[in-house]
Amino acid sequence: MTNKRTYIIDDDKLTARLVSILLTTYGFSDDIKLFNNSELAMEDLTKNATEIDTLPDIILLDINMPIMDGWQFLEEYKNLPIKKDISIFIITSSIDPIDLETSKKFPIIRSYIQKPITSEKLKFMTRLIEQQN
């Protein structure tokens, strides 16, 4: 199940790096790209929207980010001409119930995961992705 290309979008550099190390350590993925800013990730996806091989298989998305927050990112993502079925996970430290409610408005979200990332949570996410396939 390794070698699934994964994008981590999180403005907190330390968090992004730790999540990346955990993904490698627990064999979730070793093809990881970090974005500390959701606009950069949007640029990347827009550019590669039709290149199925270049596009990621999984996106781990933070909510509270400057410039473009997670929700704004998803609004724009919906408009991209992407044919690939990318698994999008919200990865957040928010305990605000409004955020959980908002996540239900986006069917493209596979699951809403609370930080910290643990091996159990990674296994759960892997199962979800396999079910989908």
Binding site: T15, R17, T25, E39, I67, S93, I95
Partner: protein
């Protein structure tokens, strides 16, 4: 003036009509010989106004003549009227009096008129009336109950059908009966006295009593009685009984209404069709402290207006009165002592049957206590909602920052526990240090914010703003020079603001460093600091030509905690949140206007009072 009236004199003599004149300049009265003979006075008798009026029979006739003469003198209204007079020799006469107005240069200079003795005619009319009353058809045609009563025995000789209807008795039951059958004992003796007075008066009398019907109902009646000598020399009384129960009931209702209006604790004001004061009840007089004559001089609203009265409300009232509409408002009024009171006021126009507005009636009450509680509650609610939104911000920082640091640390512990390679372990410890540093930094910011909230009560000082800006520029001079930002200080040197100095310092540093952080890279950067004064605030504008902010997207978050907008390394998103809190602690506020790519203007409000 007499020579001018020669023609009238001649005419008057010809027609056997008396002539009189009242010269308003000399206040002298002239009576001609005919006039003197009517009133049976000597030719050397010199009348004055008061004595002249005394010839008119006391009561209705005299007061009517008095008011007609007054109207003629003051308003120039002529009249023709029949009066009963008592002559100098104590003879009763009927006269027909006319009055004309003489003017010079539009000013009334005298009133003059004729006087015709109509005693003979009047007596004839009275006699005819009496004769007519013998005819039963007159009785039947009138709606009054008529009783003819024998003066000697007080028994009923005759009564009309209306009398049976009113008393509920059959004709056989009443004819020949003592009139007292129609009254209670007390009222019967009153009625007998009344009839005796009629004899003494030699003229008809009017009184009121209660008629007791067969079934025992009591009906209020007005009674007109007249004594008459029959052809057989016997004396009878002709009595007209008029059912006045409807009028009595209305009178009673009006009495109750006026009692309610004058005694209620609600205030009542009656004004004319253009809103001028006519009447107010005691409750209003007590509330406003003005007397009726004082209120007469102005429209009610003018006296009660004060500096804090909402001009919109008074405009609304004025509009409603102009448009003859109803209106209900709460208004802050002032009493005579210039004390404020909240007044709930409902103004209603009154229309006559033709749809014309005749009056305005306003009903109101003092709602100061209720209003004060309302305002208190509103203030409390505003404070609560402010506190609430601050609390939400705190939840946010706990959720997003402390939790995110904590989750970072917990992920690191996970990695340290599960890594076999000692080199990896050491590098994770480095990251662990980074994580704990960030956590303590966050906690420090949190502390700073809590301190601001606690310091709301700190004493403010008055300082020169221009000087403070120059000081801050000096402190940041290296940073400013490196950035190439030009700060244009347009604050006049004498402008003073009342602030907590440490907060002002922090606010100035924040806004200047923001202008540096978010300057546009492709043009010369400027920050212009200017001011404007409003009634309650001194507003300082910080206008830059930097990157600007998309307020549609970020407007709600810009002053929140930990929000940055430009992906800038230095931007911690805490600066504006602290600035906002510091201003709020000084009773001020901050607003922003911005356009992406053009620049931002931060408006700082200092509450100066």
């Amino acid at each position: 003036m007499l020579h001018n009236s020669n023609d009238s004199l001649k005419a008057a003599n010809l027609a056997r009509v008396g002539f009189w004149e009242l010269n308003l300049k000399t206040n002298k009265i002239f009576w001609d010989t005919t006039m003197r003979s009517i009133l049976e006075v000597e030719n050397d008798y010199i009348p004055n106004l008061e004595e002249a009026l005394n010839f008119y029979d006391s009561g209705e006739d005299r007061s009517k003549m008095k008011s007609l003469v007054e109207r003629a003198i003051t308003k120039g209204i002529p009249f023709v009227q029949t009066f009963q007079v008592t002559t100098f020799k104590n003879n009763s006469k009927y006269i027909e009096s006319t009055c004309q107005i003489a003017r010079k240069n539009n000013k009334i200079i005298s009133i003059l008129g004729s006087c015709l003795d109509i005693t003979a005619e009047q007596n004839l009319i009275n006699e005819l009336r009496l004769n007519n009353e013998k005819n039963s058809s007159v009785f039947l045609s009138t709606n009054d109950a008529v009783f003819i009563i024998d003066a000697k025995s007080n028994t009923i000789r005759y009564c009309n059908s209306r009398a049976f209807e009113l008393s509920e008795y059959h004709s056989l039951e009443l004819i020949g009966q003592d009139i007292s059958v129609l009254f209670t004992r007390k009222q019967a003796s009153d009625f007998t006295l009344f009839l005796e007075k009629t004899i003494a008066n030699e003229h008809y009398l009017i009184g009121e009593s209660n008629l007791t019907t067969k079934s025992g109902n009591s009906i209020p009646v007005e009674i007109a009685a007249e004594m008459k000598i029959q052809t057989d020399k016997s004396l009878v009384f002709i009595c007209f009984f008029r059912d006045i129960s409807v009028r009595k009931k209305e009178d009673e209702q009006i009495k109750m209404l006026s009692l309610a209006a004058s005694e209620t604790t609600d205030t009542i004001i009656i004004a004319n069709d253009i809103g001028e004061f006519l009447w107010a009840n005691n409750a209003y007089l007590e509330l406003c402290g003005y007397s009726v004559p004082e209120l007469m001089l102005a429209k009610p609203g003018h006296l009660s207006k004060g500096p804090e009265t909402d001009p919109n409300t008074t405009d609304q009232i004025r509009e409603a009165i102009k448009a003859k509409r109803s209106i209900t408002v709460d208004i802050l009024n002032y009493n005579k002592k210039k004390e404020k009171y909240w007044f709930e006021l409902s103004i209603n126009p009154i229309f006559d049957p033709n749809g014309l507005c005749t009056n305005f009636v306003s009903v109101g009450r003092d709602i100061t206590l209720r209003k004060e509680k309302e305002l208190q509650l509103k203030k409390l609610a505003e404070e609560m909602s402010l506190q609430n939104s601050k609390l939400i911000n705190f939840t946010h920082i706990v959720s997003h920052n402390i939790r995110s640091h904590a989750s970072n640390l917990s992920m690191l512990v996970d990695l340290i526990e599960n890594s076999i390679n000692p080199k990896d372990k050491i590098s994770y410890f480095e990251l662990f240090k980074e994580g704990t540093d960030k956590l303590s930094e966050t906690i420090e910011y949190l502390n700073e914010i809590i301190t601001i909230d606690k310091n709301t009560g700190i004493q403010k000082k008055t300082i020169f703003l221009n000087e403070e800006i120059e000081k801050t520029k000096q402190a940041l001079s290296l940073l400013i020079r490196d950035s190439g930002l030009e700060i244009i200080n347009l604050i006049p040197p004498q402008l003073k603001v009342k602030v907590i100095p440490a907060y002002l310092d922090s606010i100035l540093i924040n806004l200047m460093t923001n202008a540096i952080k978010y300057k546009a890279r492709n043009r010369k950067s400027t920050l212009e600091i200017s001011h404007q004064m409003t009634e309650s605030h001194c507003i300082i504008n910080f206008k830059d030509n930097g990157l600007g902010i998309n307020l549609n997207r970020h407007g709600d978050k810009i002053f929140g905690m930990y929000k940055t907008f430009h992906g800038n390394e230095d931007a911690k998103g805490i600066g504006l949140f602290i600035t906002k809190n510091q201003l709020e602690a000084m009773n001020g506020k901050i607003e922003v206007e911005s356009a992406e790519g053009l620049g931002s203007t931060f408006k700082i409000y200092f509450y100066d009072k």
